[in-house]
Symmetry: C2
Subunit: 411 residues, 2 copies
């Protein structure tokens, strides 16, 4: 792959203009948008507006005048097209963990005579912790969490399973599940499916309605660029909405929150998933951030994402440094999300050496260097340059310097 | 009460200088700091800093370099002195509703042979909704919510009660419970107590440790001025921390979140109450907002708060307009929090007419005009002026204009 060819890819990139919608630090190559998305210019402006004008000047009246009260619904509806969801099925609130708890509890209440939560051994651990937590109080300990490995999921879809809970794109390897097939197979056994879209939303085209998905949860701060810890979202298929009850029944989920009724009466539709008062500043910033997706053809975005990953691997193979790693992600870019996982016993130190040289990647214990490719703001030349830097780090064994094994990285 | 006397009160006010730490709209008298606290200057600066410098420039590295990962603990420790809590017992996270769910579930798991949640009929309804929600999944429906009226609480403290859940300062009337006495009486029957401090923290001196309180939850966006929907907090007495388990066991509450263990292992101390990734922007703003309490003697703040309320009632009595209302709050300022509740069949319209004239109060269904007195930024002259405006609204029956009965107020 010649430098000319890389330049040409950038020149012909239909998404190239989107980069200008982000604030990006000079000289940095940011391959960690799958952990924390970069700052959109519009998000920066919105933060100042919410603080200074809305909170500062209009104060409590902003719940009406700036429609804070409708923000969870508004943001949900903005996310919906990215999920392949028609209106009235997505809402923004709380964290993935809290949302997963709501949805899991709701599903388990529908499945009165089943009690197994089926999931995958290497699912994102937090999802498993939440299932465990629910099991600790639900149905008198009648909830059982059954974990199988990737290849065992289909065989484990038995009549005793109450719900299948999977992460669509694996947080570490990036491997994509076949959402359509697994959802269909599960339904044949009367099993609803909950998909965690943390590493999918905004990176991979999704078709939740079309795949007949029951429930999903996802993250606002990765590929949706909503800022650190911004609220997450829930998708619930319309046909389920009238027959569920979620237990985190706070006042924002009440049919008439300001009537201050003594009895809980769930709101209709997605608002029933709301619990307490949402963090308006964080959520409003996500609202603004989502505007960068305006006019984006998700298939084009996916094409670019795949090409970025392919370019990385090709160039790394060219330089010879790829051979030092185990490719933990699927080799076929169609089978993985917008990330690469490279296994190496010194992955932690390599990651630190890269960061030290302006290439921000991340480390996933015990031995994975994880590289995320956010197609809205990365250029092909960034990928090419990042490989050069990785090759330097590997060739000189620069990572072996003791300073790179010491720091603690927490994300 | 002469204008001279009011001016003198302002001149002698030891907290007068704190007003300069807030951004306050010109010409507005803000009597709704008990719903949404005003914007501290430091919070405005911090918001810009988190967005532009931390997120924008340092990106994901900020979890370490700007210590985002420790923010829930840091903010908790800043709140602790306002609660009369020694270190290691307060953490900032989620909403009150979600936090109450965690704490209620944790307490019910300790109380294996009891299942009654005792609370008050006119507790903040959201707290009751959460108890109801927990009951819908916990212990196979074995949870019973028992509601009594204010005067019946002591008599209802029976051996069957698993937990007493009360709001310290009533959201509507402002009536304060005797925390020490009720906690003591409950303990005599083996009943732990959960206090909701939404309308207390930052307004009323608290002594949680000294009163031997078990658990508490509270709000960051009222008297703590942390901005709309900023995260809430949890207090858990040290002696309980090793023997509880809360069910919203997300990764941030894990002993080693970044080890990605398959099994949940709760962190020691307050971190066990964390669930998902916190909204850093909202929480960081609360962190900065709390600095306005630096050097504040909570007893002096309480004295001022009481005097503001007393001044309001005195002046309103002088003008004659007080006679048109029912005083729903206790007449003795020692018995109420930093707010007044005035009952009137046209309270909604009166509230709208006040807002229209630059006095921001709020309405609580069905018939209460609620006035909050945030002592850090209100002056005695503001109170005096607000009474004059109320008197005008009442004397001219200005509220009877149809435009004031139409708008919908949501907070």
């Amino acid at each position: 792959m010649s430098p000319e060819h890389v330049r040409k890819l950038d020149r012909l990139d239909p998404l190239a203009g989107k980069r200008d919608l982000f604030v990006l630090p000079e000289g940095l190559i940011y391959l960690d948008g799958n952990s924390l998305g970069a700052l959109p210019v519009a998000a920066q402006q919105r933060a100042a507006e919410i603080v200074t004008e809305q909170w500062g000047q209009d104060l409590v009246r902003s719940w009406n005048t700036h429609e804070w009260i409708d923000l969870p619904v508004k943001v949900g509806e903005k996310i919906a097209p990215l999920l392949g969801a028609s209106a009235g099925q997505v809402i923004c609130c709380d964290s993935i963990s809290v949302n997963l708890f709501k949805v899991l509890a709701a599903v388990l209440q529908m499945q009165t005579d089943r009690h197994v939560i089926l999931s995958q051994e290497d699912n994102f651990p937090a999802d498993l912790y939440i299932a465990e937590g629910l099991g600790s109080i639900g149905k008198s300990g009648n909830v059982e969490l059954k974990l199988v490995d990737d290849s065992g999921i289909e065989a484990a879809l038995e009549d005793s399973v109450a719900v299948l809970m999977l992460t669509h794109v694996n947080y570490r390897s990036g491997k994509i599940h076949d959402m359509r097939r697994l959802t269909e197979l599960a339904h044949e056994k009367g099993i609803p499916v909950i998909w965690d879209l943390a590493h999918s939303a905004g990176a991979v085209p999704l078709a939740l309605d079309d795949c007949n998905v029951d429930f999903a949860v996802g993250c606002g701060y990765k590929y949706l660029n909503g800022g650190p810890g911004t609220p997450a979202f829930i998708y619930a298929a319309k046909h389920h909405q009238d027959r569920i009850r979620q237990p985190l029944s706070g006042w924002m989920g009440h049919a008439a929150p300001f009537a201050f009724d003594r009895q809980y009466r769930a709101a209709q539709g997605m608002r029933q998933f709301l619990a307490g008062t949402p963090p308006i500043l964080s959520m409003g910033v996500l609202d603004a951030a989502l505007d960068v997706f305006e006019g984006v053809d998700m298939q084009l975005l996916r094409d670019k994402s795949r090409q970025l990953g392919e370019l990385f691997l090709e160039r790394a193979a060219d330089t010879g440094c790829l051979a030092e790693f185990e490719l933990v992600s699927p080799a076929d870019s169609a089978q993985r999300g917008s990330q690469l996982a490279l296994g190496h016993p010194r992955a932690f130190a390599i990651c630190q050496a890269l960061i030290d040289r302006g290439v921000i990647a991340d480390f996933r214990a015990p031995d994975i260097l994880r590289l995320g490719f956010a197609p809205l703001y990365l250029r092909y030349r960034d990928i090419s340059r990042s490989v050069e830097i990785l090759a330097e780090v590997m060739a000189g064994e620069i990572y072996a310097h003791e300073k790179y094994s010491k720091r603690q990285k927490v994300t």
